[in-house]
Symmetry: C2
């Protein structure tokens, strides 16, 4: 039996999504056959309008409805701290608790040579430009790429590239305010973890990243 | 940070699909942000055209491009056997090896009282009508609902409803051709299974369904 073209088309569209295999694609498609046409229309419009209804912020490159984005255009936020993340979703995760009040910079990826993604494919150059052009002075750059092999490599690369802006121990004594601190997001045991089951590298990071007991 | 409306819309649309939670919906949506607009348009059209490009066969209720469907309108198929399945996907699975040459009847569901689906919500009445109206005579009805609790209950209900058409041991001797055989799809150990790990019910079914060694 030939699968109807309309069904085959949608199965193929679903299959292109990450983490969705042929079986799931089939299941989703046949589920949608039982859904009212209005809901299909709504879904269809959401897909079509996804990119038309969003803008990439020209300053921090996150995804928003305006340019500059809501965060970059908020005067109450501390523009002297920039948190560098891989994806717009990371911004949302960090914004959830609302504790961080600085700005962001979204790289839209990580350096990943195995997938042919080099430093020029992600927004690293724009980050350096942004720091160079910032006349108000940036105090700190937090490298918050994921603690994976690629994320660590990306953080390392950026830290090296930002060497010229990095504050040396003697700088603050000399009153040089044009330099900034470069930090890496804390790595260690997540809340609720069990030391017994933690992997070696996480444990090592947790020991290295220990802080004064207050 | 407020999530852009366009993104929120698509996340919500994805979340409505079965087996897709909030995290997966987010991941899929942000993946689509990196996809060219033409591909989004194609996806969007596939969703919108899904039901417009398909028809439910008025005879067997499977999903196809024509009415009657490709199977029902095929003169080479044996119209004296009807295989009753729950979903159009089951038809495709059974058609894959091409060994079955009879017709189908798709119920579009199963009797599932916990989800408020009774016998009238699925195409059981239409199956009975179809058998009653069939003047050529149906020789066999294969109940191929899933071997789950609901599928078994559905098969049992249909078998009971079809009682009037059921061939009794003495019917064939009397030359009554208007009656038919009602069978249930074989249940037992699937190919590649391990008796050691099979559950009790499957083992019991496998013993009950044993056949002569040929």
């Amino acid at each position: 039996m030939k699968v109807p073209k309309a069904i085959q088309n949608l199965i193929e569209s679903f299959e292109r999504l990450p983490g969705i295999g042929p079986k799931t694609a089939q299941r989703l498609t046949f589920y949608l056959l039982h859904v009212p046409q209005e809901e299909l229309d709504h879904f269809s419009q959401s897909v079509q309008g996804l990119k038309r209804g969003t803008l990439i912020c020209s300053s921090c490159f996150t995804v928003g409805e305006t340019d500059p984005c809501q965060i970059c255009s908020d005067p109450t936020r501390d523009s002297s701290i920039i948190c560098v993340v891989e994806q717009p979703l990371d911004v949302m995760a960090l914004e959830k608790n609302g504790k961080y009040t600085g700005l962001y910079h979204v790289l839209h990826g990580k350096i990943d040579p195995l997938n042919n993604i080099g430093p020029d494919e992600i927004f690293i150059k724009q980050l350096i430009e942004r720091i160079r052009n910032n006349e108000l002075g940036i105090r700190e750059i937090i490298l918050a790429t994921n603690p994976t092999m690629e994320g660590e490599a990306t953080a390392m690369y950026i830290a090296k590239k930002l060497g010229e802006f990095k504050m040396q121990p003697f700088d603050s004594a000399q009153g040089k305010n044009s330099k900034c601190k470069i930090s890496r997001i804390g790595r260690g045991l997540p809340v609720g973890a069990d030391i017994e089951y933690a992997d070696e590298v996480t444990l090592q990071r947790a020991m290295e990243g220990r802080s004064d007991y207050s």
